[in-house]
Amino acid sequence: MYYYLFDTSTDPREQQRITQIKSTLTSLGIAGELASLDRGKHIGELVQRAVDKRYSTLVAVGGSSLLQQLVNAIPYGELVVGAIPLSNDPILTQFIGTNDWKVACELLRKRRWHDTPSLRANGIRTPFDLIGELGEQGQLLATTKQWSTRIAGGQVVLHPEDGHVQLSINSPQPRSLFGGKSPQQTTLLTATELSLQSDVIQYLRTGTTEIAALPTTIQHDAVFRCVRAGE
C-alpha cells in the first residue's frame, strides 16, 4: 500500500536516519516498497511503477524538492501523497506541519489526508507557493483575461487555492516625509490563470525549484490528497 521514494544521500547522518525510518515504518506496520532515486532513475518512471503495482500512498522521504517532483509526477486521481523530512527544510515543515520524521511517520500510519490545492507554473505542478522577489529595480507585469497590473519592486506570492490562484503583491513601503502612517501596500487578487512578464527580476521560485523562463503562465491545478498535520 505504501511506496517510499528516497533521495539519494551521501551524508552519513542522513543514511543513519534512513535506516531508523525504515525500522520505524516496519514497527508501525506501514513498511512498503522502497525506491531510491539513484542510478539515473527518473521520478516519473518510479511513480509509474508504483501506479502499475497499485500502491495507493506515495511518500517522499527527503526534502521539499523531492515532494515537489513527486506532486509533479503523480497522475490525477485518488493517490495519496505524503512526506517524511530527512533534514530541516522550512518549506516542507510548513507544508506538512512538522519537521519531526517520527511525527511524519505517525501521520502516515493514520493516513489522514487533506485535499490540497496545487498550481502549475511553466508546466511544473507544485503544491508550494510561487514566490517572486523583484528587488528595488524589478518590474513585473501580471496579466489575466480580465485585468493587468504592473508591479514595481517588492515581492509577489502566488498561493494555490481550490479553483484559483491568489496573487499577493507586497509593494515596498514608501518613505513618509512627515512620519505619518503609510497607506496599505498589500494587494490581493485572485485568478484562474495569469501570465507574468518581466525583464528585471531577482528570482521566481516554488519551493527550491527556480522558474527560469519568463514570461510564464500560472494556472490553478487540481487538488490532490496529501497527508499533513492539522485540521
Partner: protein
Amino acid sequence: MANQEPADTLIGASVELKGSLKNQGSIVINGTVIGDVTSGATVVISETGRVQGPIIAKRIEVAGTVIGSLRGEQLIDLLPKSIVQGDLAGGQLSIRQGATFVGKCEMPLPDGHSHPKSAPKPE
C-alpha cells in the same frame, strides 16, 4: 469605514490595475483601478483609492475618488472628502458633509408610493 467583512481582493496604494475587477467577496481599493468593478458584497474605495469606471456591488463606500457610475443594491455611502463624478443608483443613499458629488441620482420609492406626476405647466 463601516466595512466589517475581510476583503479577499485588495488593491494596494501604489498599484494601478487596468481592466475588469470582479469578485463575489468584498473589494477594498487603496490604489487605482481603470475599468469596471463588480462585487457580490461590499466595495470600499479608501481615501487613497481612485476608480475610473462603473462600480456595481451590494454596498459601496467611497472615501476617495470615483469617475464613473455607482450602482449599490443596498447602500451607497459617500464619505467626507470623497469625490464622485457619475450617476448613482442605490437602495439607500448617504452623502456626508464634505463629499463632492456631480451627477444624477436614482432611488426606488418605498412600497405604496408612486413617482410624483410632473407639475402642470402654467397656462
